[in-house]
């Protein structure tokens, strides 16, 4: 009887969790997924627009690499995206779904802009920068602290809480922009004449400071998560809160502390965007990067160096799509489609990294 049941119930394929996977195999699966995604996108391009996908991809390449200036612009945008990704890494490693980066960045940017508006020209430059920095860190940290505190004390769902905080931040920014612009139709650059609070140019670019900060933080965050006691605590809380409690870790404290760090770094991003890139603020200052960075942080499994790679891929696509748009009279939204398809494929490929598929066979498990 038992044999009978076995014959009936052995499925055609079985899925088994992998114990581990070699780096080579992992890289191969990832590469295959991107190639497949590009093929899928190529089919899409061909059937919708009738263009030769290969030449479209070639034009895409120009978006980032045709001139030095373009490359620097790509780096500038990459800096913002990557910084938010780095900021999110500790929260996600703790399995705290901080989808509120957009709002945290905006609050940081708002604090920076407020200091520029009210203290620009009244403080010596070095002090102005310092106040801008501190204000932005504080504002971002506050936006991270609020949902974290409720999560720690009442286990309030953080995904939904942080999502709502984005819109609260957007409305506050809209309100302040409305006040500051007065009768003008737009806000324009802040402190246009005095340039107070604008980052100094290094190598001809104001955003050079952003790039330097990103590189430093990339190493710092890697080390923080990997080698510090805090990083260890974050990892344990992320794996299992009960284990963490048993090990004597104060889970609530770790959650609040980590989210203050995550929020503060998002606030810092806002500071860098306003000071080094835009010199102004709008509800579009974060421009959706707060959401895109979630994908960056998750796909790279919290490794800041992979984050740099994935951010680069996404920025490359964004720039490339803009280039295609102008070259072939298409529109920018192509980049959302192409990026979406690539993300779907990469997300799907995770399955083949984490699991093995076994086909039904007479013999026992084949390795």
């Amino acid at each position: 009887m038992s044999e009978n049941r076995k014959a009936l119930h052995e499925p055609l394929i079985r899925i088994v969790k992998r114990d581990g996977i070699s780096f080579r195999k992992k890289a191969l699966i990832r590469a295959a997924s991107i190639v497949l995604a590009l093929v899928a996108d190529a089919l899409f391009i061909y059937f919708v627009t009738g263009l030769n996908p290969l030449s479209v991809y070639a034009v895409m390449f120009n978006g980032t690499f045709s001139t030095t200036m373009r490359f620097m612009w790509a780096m500038r945008d990459l800096a913002s995206l990557l910084l938010i990704g780095i900021a999110l890494a500790p929260a996600f490693k703790m399995r705290f779904w901080n989808v509120g980066a957009e709002g945290q960045v905006l609050m940081g940017a708002l604090a920076t802009a407020a200091v520029m508006v009210y203290y620009g020209g009244k403080l010596p430059n070095w002090l102005l920068y310092a106040v801008m920095l501190i204000a932005s860190l504080f504002a971002g940290a506050l936006w991270g602290f609020i949902p974290a505190w409720f999560k720690a004390h009442f286990s309030t769902n953080e995904t939904l809480f942080t999502l709502m905080m984005n819109y609260v931040a957007i409305q506050i920014v809209a309100c302040c922009v409305n006040i500051w612009r007065g009768q003008a139709s737009g806000l324009g650059k802040l402190n246009m004449k005095s340039k107070a609070g604008w980052f100094p140019q290094i190598g001809g670019h104001r955003f050079m400071i952003n790039l330097i900060v990103v590189v430093v933080l990339m190493f710092a965050m890697y080390a923080y998560l990997r080698y510090s006691k805090h990083g260890y605590e974050i990892a344990v809380v992320g794996e299992s809160e009960n284990t963490a409690r048993y090990a004597g870790i104060n889970v609530g404290k770790v959650i609040v502390r980590t989210m203050i760090i995550s929020g503060a770094l998002c606030g810092l991003t806002g500071f860098l965007i306003v000071g080094g890139r835009d010199q102004t603020i709008s509800t579009n200052t974060a421009g959706g990067d707060g959401f895109t960075a979630i994908i960056v942080a998750w796909l790279s499994k919290f490794n800041t160096f992979y984050m740099a790679l994935i951010s680069f891929l996404l920025i490359f696509l964004r720039k490339g799509a803009a280039e295609i748009a102008s070259a072939y009279n298409l529109n920018d939204f192509a980049s959302d489609i192409i990026a979406g398809v690539i993300l779907f494929f990469i997300l799907g490929s995770e399955f083949f990294i984490n699991y093995r598929i076994l086909r039904r066979s007479g013999t026992k498990e084949v390795r």
Partner: protein, 328 residues
């Protein structure tokens, strides 16, 4: 009084958009899937409905408006379900992370709708489909019966369909075996599985049908609320997130979505009507802060439900987690 009537006439159609979005998401979340792709799905649905109606109108020699409405509804439902299917395949079969997949779907749906939208716009900033007149047809005699007739019967058919759907979903979730099974999966898929319920099939169906319902919100927005005008704006995205907020606000109950969505509609239009109603003038920047109210209210509800820990108001216990049978 006139202001109040005008306010209600604004609030109920607005509420209907997010009511569809929220009802779809309630069904999806009851199966344990937290689909953050609602804005993308509403984009897909809204665009598919608009495009099918627009193309039919402009190619058919003698367009039949009733047929056009049916065509738009069907296309919306199918396109939204396709979005839901992508999400389901990735999160259920391939066990990808739900939050990330949902966000990618939002990017994708917005991209698809706006990319093809540009072809239809053909250089102009907005195009109109005339089928909106059929969508907006009010109930004949009743809607002309004074203030009550205006505020109760003065909307297109989708407003009433939404209410009927909410009641149907309520009965489905609470009074049928299938609904009970679905809720069981959202609470604890392993137990449901042990009970012989096909977790995968339920999750797929709930997520895809939920996406279809959410997409109707996009259709209602374009072809009724926005008078059949398609334009490349980010408006649907904001509405989609508001629908996700509404799901929390209703504590995952379809009946709550009826009054919750109208309340959100009132709150959303608060900035335009409240000052007139109170006879005060409010500076422009204050309206931005008043628009924040729906989100703040949602946060308060979220906090209060987590404080009170009432069983029936909690999110489905397995919300956001992939189910892997072999991992039990």
């Amino acid at each position: 009084m006139d202001t109040l009537v005008a306010w209600i006439l604004r609030a109920i159609p607005f509420g209907t958009i997010i009511m569809y979005g929220a009802m779809g998401e309630i069904i999806t979340e009851k199966s344990g899937n937290l689909n953050l792709g609602v804005p993308g799905i509403m984009y897909l649905g809204g665009f598919a409905g608009f495009a099918s109606a627009y193309i039919y109108e402009n190619t058919a020699a003698n367009p039949n408006m009733a047929l056009c409405v049916v065509l738009a509804l069907v296309c919306t439902f199918l396109a939204s379900m396709a979005g839901g299917l992508i999400y389901s395949f990735l999160t259920i079969s391939l066990r990808a992370n739900q939050n990330v997949t949902g966000l990618a779907l939002t990017t994708f749906g917005m991209g698809v709708a706006n990319f093809f939208g540009v072809y239809i716009l053909n250089g102009s900033t907005a195009t109109q489909s005339l089928v909106y007149k059929t969508f907006q047809t009010k109930i004949p005699v009743l809607s002309r019966m004074g203030v009550i007739g205006q505020t109760v019967f003065g909307y297109g058919f989708m407003v009433y369909a939404a209410i009927a759907l909410a009641i149907a979903l309520h009965i489905f979730l609470n009074r049928t075996r299938t609904g009970l099974n679905l809720r069981a999966i959202g609470e604890n898929p392993a137990t449901a599985d042990a009970d012989g319920i096909s977790v995968t099939r339920y999750k797929y169906l709930a997520t895809c049908l939920g996406a279809g319902i959410s997409g109707l919100g996009g259709l209602y927005y374009v072809l009724d609320y926005n008078q059949g005008i398609w334009a490349t704006t980010g408006q649907i995205e904001a509405l989609g997130w508001l629908a996700v907020a509404l799901v929390i606000f209703t504590t995952w109950k379809p009946l709550g979505a009826i009054w919750g969505s109208y309340l959100f509609g009132m709150l959303y239009w608060l900035y335009q009507f409240l000052p007139t109603l109170l006879g005060v003038s409010v500076p422009g920047y204050m309206t931005d802060l008043i628009q924040m109210v729906p989100y703040v209210v949602t946060i308060i509800v979220l906090v209060v439900t987590s404080l009170r820990k009432k069983r029936e108001n909690q999110p489905p216990a397995s919300l956001g987690l992939a189910y892997f049978r072999e991992e039990r």
